[in-house]
Symmetry: C2
Subunit: 361 residues, 2 copies
């Protein structure tokens, strides 16, 4: 079976590492000459709107999936004429746009921060009057890793903010005094079977994920599964989805979904019986889903900007390096480490060891 | 770091799957147009004696390693002029030739079956008179998976046996009434640090490995480590080596070594903290060695001739498929499954489930 992936970054790379042992081959459509997935599959170097090359991809592969949710709707529609596409156009339409996304959560009875659609500075002023400050203004589309966002703390921040974010459609979200950020990675098969990984505690820095720790018997696990299950069913979703929540007052408020394998699920490569990457491929290929059970106590630490010296990372017991083979650049995710330990105390100690390496670079 | 591999079959493929997350790239020199490792690295399609292409490989990579031990000595000597080669020429010289191999065991005080060098039918007749029947005659070089061997049970089998195996240098080995076959996979770093995986029980069928089960606290573990340690030191070995033993009367007799990652170590991909593939790469790259500790109870079952339907293999809990992407052919190793279970009883049950699939194809 040959899988086409729109995007050829580290997620595509890890999909191929998981799928090759299942007997799959991969083709990545990505305009970047140095797309790091090309080490592990065919690289079709083309723009995401290039219909000739999209057609070539569709002709070569059995099905198509995505590495990122901001893929143009036209790309999905075009491909869908020729080849099965998972997740489907509706899931991408919703996930691509924060307004659609939050509106869907509301319709499904999933708590969210207060939010409002912003099409102008006047909309923003009205929304701030209603929701209050502090609040976060985000572009409806194309934001990631803290980009396309502005925290509004005072009236001064509000003035001209719409123009500052490019005078594009935005969403205003009320500030949530959260006690933690958690994500639930789920997978749903073509037949509707659904499995959930354990909730993951996430720590961000400047909007970029730094640390994920897989939980054990989290008290909010079943509530999170209920919420995510509603979305998966609503979208008739196929594949892996990550759902980010704010943890607040012993409850959850929905932040956003990612209709794809997700950074907060990278720990599953070693830390779960079947990784999010293998499970995404199993789901879209119509294979039985794999176990989402944990193997030991696990955490994931991102390497941002650069990977610490490989001999230092590999010297840490229980540590598994995932180097993406990308050029080092400030703020860029260039690798991660998974820790898989026998117990939580050891895990915490190893997290500190890896953090020391990160600080040293 | 770019690694050159002589040979581009499943071992090369699994080396790349293990090394890519360490930030390594791979080039495989293999004459086969369909070498299955080419999905995961550059394929230099050339004969192993083709000096132009060997030179190209040497120029492109940081170091060279091998997928099989019968690589010509001239190839190793040629490459060594331009690039570090691990394991070294001496290890390959010994491992390639059963006479050198058994003689080294004897010199190092490691018990072996009785053996004799056979250069003619007269040598064979004399050796049979001394060693007795039954015995096994094997070509000194190029044998694998039961090929290049003949079991001699009666005087009738002895007649003309030298010509039958091609009138090439052979070795005669006395029959060993073994109770089991075990192998020890070891890894030795450039600095001499050595680690051992748990002893593995192997079951063969017609000379081809069918099933490997990793042991727990095997009573012969330390004896095996002593023997293997002697060989590693003698050869100043760098990389992974597999050492096959006959288990007999509560002791061990050396059968043979493989100076490379080995089929009986495939279970380590999921079943050990750091796989034999990653540890081989760590060793030759001068990185710290990884833990050889088991994760759960593990076994490996080979898929020979064909891989059972992927949806059936993936439906078995605790089962990890490794499809080599090779054309199916009778007697050919085309994949394997690793089982990693919480306890031995579950493992035995899962082994039966996989065996049922194998019998059904």
């Amino acid at each position: 079976m040959k899988i086409g992936v729109i995007g050829g970054g580290q997620l595509g790379r890890m999909l191929s590492l998981a799928g090759t042992p299942l007997g799959m081959n991969f083709a990545f459509l990505d305009p970047a000459p140095d797309a790091c997935a090309q080490a592990l599959g065919e690289h079709i170097r083309a723009d995401y709107a290039d219909q000739d090359h999209l057609r070539q991809l569709a002709d070569e592969v059995d099905l198509v999936t995505f590495e990122f949710e901001s893929v143009p709707a036209e790309t999905v529609a075009f491909l869908s004429q020729f080849v099965p596409v998972y997740p489907g156009a509706e899931a991408l339409r919703i996930a691509r746009d924060r307004w659609f996304e939050k509106s869907m959560f509301k319709d499904l009875g999933i708590p969210t921060p207060a939010f409002a659609d912003i099409q102008s500075q006047a909309d923003l002023d009205a929304a701030v009057a209603s929701i209050g400050l502090p609040a976060v203004m985000k572009t409806r589309t194309l934001g990631y890793d803290g980009k396309g966002q502005k925290v509004l703390r005072s009236e001064q921040d509000v003035t001209g903010a719409f123009a500052e974010l490019g005078s594009v459609p935005c969403i205003l979200e009320g500030f949530v005094p959260f006690t933690g950020e958690v994500s639930l990675v789920a997978v749903r098969g073509r037949d509707g079977e659904t499995r959930f990984y354990p909730l993951v505690h996430n720590t961000h820095n400047s909007g970029i994920l730094e640390l994920s720790i897989a939980s054990t018997d989290h008290p909010l696990q079943s509530l999170a599964e209920d919420y995510v299950g509603r979305v998966l069913k609503q979208l008739d979703y196929v594949g892996v989805m990550a759902f980010e929540f704010f943890e607040i007052d012993g409850g959850l408020k929905a932040n956003e979904i990612a209709p794809r394998v997700h950074n907060s699920g990278h720990w599953t490569i070693e830390g779960a019986e079947c990784s999010q990457f293998e499970n995404h491929l199993r789901a879209i290929a119509g294979l039985p889903l794999g176990s989402t059970a944990k193997v030991g106590e696990s955490a994931m630490l991102n390497f941002i900007g650069e990977v610490p010296p490989v001999d230092k990372v590999t010297a840490i017991d229980d540590c598994h390096l995932h180097h993406y083979g990308k050029a080092f650049k400030v703020g860029r995710k260039v690798g991660h480490a998974t820790l898989r330990c026998a117990d939580r105390a050891t895990l915490d100690q190893k997290i500190s060891q890896v953090q020391s390496l990160i600080k040293a670079v």
